[in-house]
């Protein structure tokens, strides 16, 4: 943390390398959603227009697979980053779901209906962030596996019966839809519409948040940084 950041009351929340990953995820997921849902809802006129725009089913498939390969590369990089890098390992620790997250969730409910006086005090990531992270992570893994099965259909056919591939296709489509819904709605609320960040939490570009925001939204992280003398 540089002095300039301290002076302006800014705290680095995400490093550049870390920021790059969700950015890639966003772009790639959008491409995958547009190309994928066009196929999933191919009887819909809008979907047909999209397929034509993409240059027919063949080109649609190529675009979808290029984006998929990049997404999987991003996923692999992310797994290595989280498991083995000095920067990533603490992040993974912070993101682990613990008993405390359930308590936090229940306390926030109680607080909002007026049954508790204190709002739960979050660390770097609260239950909302963790839910979104693990939802997206699980979705990406599942979609990647089923996607691979369908892509390498000639290989899959050696040992998989057709009904397994049928299931893979349904799972692939609906898991994609699920991931899209989680990311779209939950994300929309958490980092855009939530009163504390409206209209947008800029940290996805700058990587920084204000110390005051951190004190209010993630008090435990604020205190930890303070203890470490970083604030």
């Amino acid at each position: 943390m540089s002095r300039a950041d301290l002076a302006s009351g800014q705290v680095i929340r995400m490093s550049l390398l870390f920021r790059l990953q969700p950015l890639m995820l966003t772009v790639l997921l959008l491409v995958l959603a547009v190309t994928g849902f066009a196929l999933m809802y191919h009887e819909n006129a809008l979907a047909q227009a999209v397929i034509r725009l993409e240059g027919g089913v063949q080109n649609r498939g190529i675009v979808h697979r290029v984006a998929a390969v990049l997404l999987m590369a991003n996923l692999v990089y992310h797994i290595f980053y989280m498991l083995f890098s000095r920067e990533g390992r603490p992040e993974l620790r912070d993101l682990m779901i613990t008993r405390r997250d359930i308590d936090d969730f229940l306390q926030s409910l109680r607080y909002n209906i007026g049954a508790a006086t204190e709002y739960p005090r979050f660390g770097k990531y609260g239950y909302k962030e963790k839910f979104q992270y693990w939802g997206a992570a699980a979705g990406t893994v599942l979609v990647s596996i089923t996607g691979f099965m369908l892509w390498a259909e000639g290989f899959s056919m050696i040992f998989l019966p057709k009904f397994v591939l049928d299931l893979a296709m349904v799972i692939h489509g609906y898991q994609g839809l699920l991931a899209f819904v989680i990311l779209f709605f939950w994300h929309l609320y958490n980092v855009h519409l939530h009163p504390s960040v409206f209209p947008m939490n800029p940290s996805w570009i700058t990587g920084k948040v204000s110390a005051e925001w951190l004190r209010q939204e993630h008090p435990l992280e604020y205190e930890k940084l303070k203890e470490e003398g970083l604030l």
Binding site: H42, G56, N112, G154, M157, F163, L177, Y189, L193, P195
Partner: protein
């Protein structure tokens, strides 16, 4: 040879007789005498309405005609020189079989009722200029006959006058069909021309059971040329159905079209890779037909939802269509051990395109109809996700609503105190 010599003999005898008669009855004219008047190019008769009709006979054309060696009075038996209006020429005097068959045809029956617009013999064969059908200049030569029929059947005014006539465009579509093009462009005499299917003198509309083009007769009709295909068709479920008297069972024209018929490789063909799902489903997506013959339902929609269906819909014609798996003319029910979609044969059938698809792959249905009975797995997964995603969205909305409610509530409570609570 024998026949020709006999005919020559008959002609000679007739000529001799005429020659003798000519001397006996000066009123019976020879060709030369007829031509004294009818050789004049300006000779004509008046018709009602101020129109005129030429009575000129071109001797050279007549001499080259199939009857050119004969005499005028053979046909115009009541002709004298000079003469008034002559009686009708009766071709049946010599061509008895043709006349009999014509009398039973739709043209003949209307003609007998006094309709003068339907073709009589001369309508198709000509008058003084009649040539043998084998003569390339003949109106009934194989390469010319379509033009002869279409000279009336392409006529829009005629179509309007006779409401039972098919659309002139439909009939004229023959010219662009694979048969018509073979005649017109490639000059093939082996290609089908109008009388090959419809018959010549005995032509009848297709809705009459005796008609050559009646549904029940179509396979045999097409099989006259496409014998190998007919053999396959007769063994198929469609062919057997038709022979068992099921009129709904498809015949050649139901899939291929009739006058519009084009090659299967032509994208506009109803049996092209792109169009075949629609063509088959004209029957196989019909609830009534599926119920009546206890056939599996939703064949079209389940196909169109598959990778094969989507690929074909968007023009990747190498993807499997109905015929790729089920066969074409030799199509059999899946219960038949010879059917390519019999469970025992599926690995081989899928293997035509997917070499890795072995017996293991063939487990499970091909047309995935998403219902608990037909595809429980897919149905359950779909149901799970639908409920899960819906529930999640509802919970999101509730959570957001609750937070906003709490915030609003605290703000109201803190109104007097001034200090704003947590969001």
């Amino acid at each position: 040879m024998k026949r020709t010599s006999r005919r020559t003999l008959a002609a000679t005898v007739a000529a001799a007789a005429l020659f003798a008669a000519g001397h006996a009855l000066a009123a019976t004219p020879g060709v030369g005498e007829c031509l004294d008047c009818h050789g004049d190019k300006t000779i004509e008769k008046s018709l009602p309405g101020g129109r005129t009709q030429s009575l000129y006979v071109d001797l050279a054309v007549y001499r080259q005609s199939v009857h050119g060696k004969g005499s005028c009075v053979t046909c115009h038996a009541d002709a004298k020189a000079p003469h008034d209006k002559l009686g009708k020429v009766n071709c049946g005097k010599c061509h008895g079989d043709a006349e009999k068959s014509y009398a039973g045809s739709t043209h003949g029956m209307m003609h007998a009722k006094g309709n003068t617009e339907v073709p009589g013999c001369d309508g198709c064969h000509g008058k003084h200029d009649i040539l043998k059908p084998t003569n390339p200049k003949s109106k009934t030569f194989r390469l010319n006959i379509a033009g002869t029929c279409l000279s009336c059947h392409k006529d829009r005014a005629l179509e309007a006058r006779y409401s039972h006539l098919p659309d002139h465009k439909l009939i004229a579509a023959y010219e662009q069909s694979v048969h018509g093009m073979a005649v017109k462009k490639s000059g093939l005499t082996g290609s089908a021309v109008c009388p090959d299917c419809h018959g010549n003198h005995g032509i009848l509309p297709a809705d009459q059971p005796k008609s050559a083009t009646h549904r029940q007769n179509i396979p045999t009709l097409c099989g006259k040329c496409h014998a190998g295909i007919l053999e396959q068709y007769e063994k198929s479920v469609h062919g057997k159905g038709l022979r068992a008297g099921i009129a709904e069972s498809p015949v050649c024209t139901d899939c291929h079209g009739e006058h519009t018929i084009v090659k299967a490789s032509d994208p506009s063909s109803p049996v092209s890779s792109r169009n075949i799902p629609k063509t088959c489903s004209a029957c196989h997506e019909k609830e009534a037909i599926s119920t009546r013959y206890a056939l599996p339902k939703k064949r079209f929609s389940s196909y169109m939802d598959s990778f094969h269906g989507i690929a074909v819909e968007y023009g990747m014609t190498k993807a499997a269509n109905c015929a790729s798996c089920h066969g074409i003319h030799e199509i059999l029910p899946s219960g038949d051990p010879a059917s390519p979609v019999n469970p025992a044969n599926l690995p081989r059938t899928c293997g035509k395109c997917h070499p890795n698809a072995g017996p293991n792959f063939a487990k499970g249905v091909v047309h995935v109809e998403v219902s608990p009975k037909k595809a429980m797995g897919v149905f359950a997964v779909r149901m799970f996700y639908t409920i899960f995603i819906s529930a999640l969205v509802i919970l999101f909305v509730l959570h957001v609503g609750l937070e906003l409610y709490g915030r609003w509530n605290r703000r109201r409570a803190a109104g007097q105190g001034g200090k704003e609570g947590r969001p």
